[in-house]
Amino acid sequence: MAIINQAIKELQVKIVYYGPARGGKTTNLEQIHANVHTNTPESMSKLVSLATSSDRTLFFDFFPIETMTVRGFKTKFQLYTVPGQVIYNTTRQLVLRGVDGIVFVADSNHEKMEENIESFKNLEDNLRTLKLNLADIPYVLQYNKRDLPNAAPTEYMEFLLNNRETRVPSFEGVGTRCEGVFEPLNAVASMLIHKFINPASRKPA
């Protein structure tokens, strides 16, 4: 649930990067941290990673960033990753708490399709545990590691992961080269911002 602070005119939202282990969630955050354009140094903080000695995410990665001012409101995004390893499910539930938007990072490696599906189901299960429904939360898909020689066709990944009644935006990416990293973030951020526009007062196009 977004935090709205009228007094200091501030909107804070939480976006969680979810997906199977070694799919590239942390790499996405690292690339955003390294490459995002900011107007002022104060609008960006450090990337906090709680990881093991072998750089596997243990608890979460966290990167807060402030974007434009909308109608006088500062819009602050808190980007989190979850640990992808199966054993850390409890930790994933903790990090999902209060989530406003999700980027699901799928691994394009053909041999990882089952893990992608398991992770997606796990996301739905964990949201249900938190009394949330994926259908009510803005989310996008990133098909990462498109540079792999054995990458599954995107049509196949769409069939596996984007087969609900309402299809969501999906993006191809190569996280290590910062390709297709900003697009899913902008898409989910845009979907989130539009949630705060009162439908009754929308202007005709």
């Binding site: 977004a2 935090i3 845009s190």
Partner: protein, 160 residues
Amino acid sequence: MTGFPQLLQEDLDEIDAILNGVLTRSGATFALFVHRNGPLLRACGATGKLDTVALASLASNAYNAGELLLVGQLADRGFSSVTMNGENFSATVMDVDEECLLLIAFKTTLTAGAVRSTAMPAVMRLREQLRKAHARNPELSYDLVDLNNPDVLDLFKKKE
């Protein structure tokens, strides 16, 4: 929209007064008022160049993990704080209500028990202030109708 109440200036003034009061009475170094989902709501005291946003995220997640351990796994219903002890500084995170936490950082010349005891009335006052904010206008929504839609298609830009 329901959930966390919208805070007005009068709320922030009262929260600041409460946090500063805790620091004065306990001798603690700084206090952060934090949402359980991670966002920092208010900071008071000698935070210097500390990254208080990151501290808020770490504190809330540490508290949530402790709560899951004691309440979720060990069925302890009395869980209300987490204390981390360092060589020079310690920090205690206290439950305020279902949505908020209070982090107090203090030098190890003070004891966690004394700091928590001093902070308890403040926790009650913070809880009451949030209740007032909730009651004021629970249905107030946030409307960005004047937003130029194309602007939000490119919120985050890659460096040239």
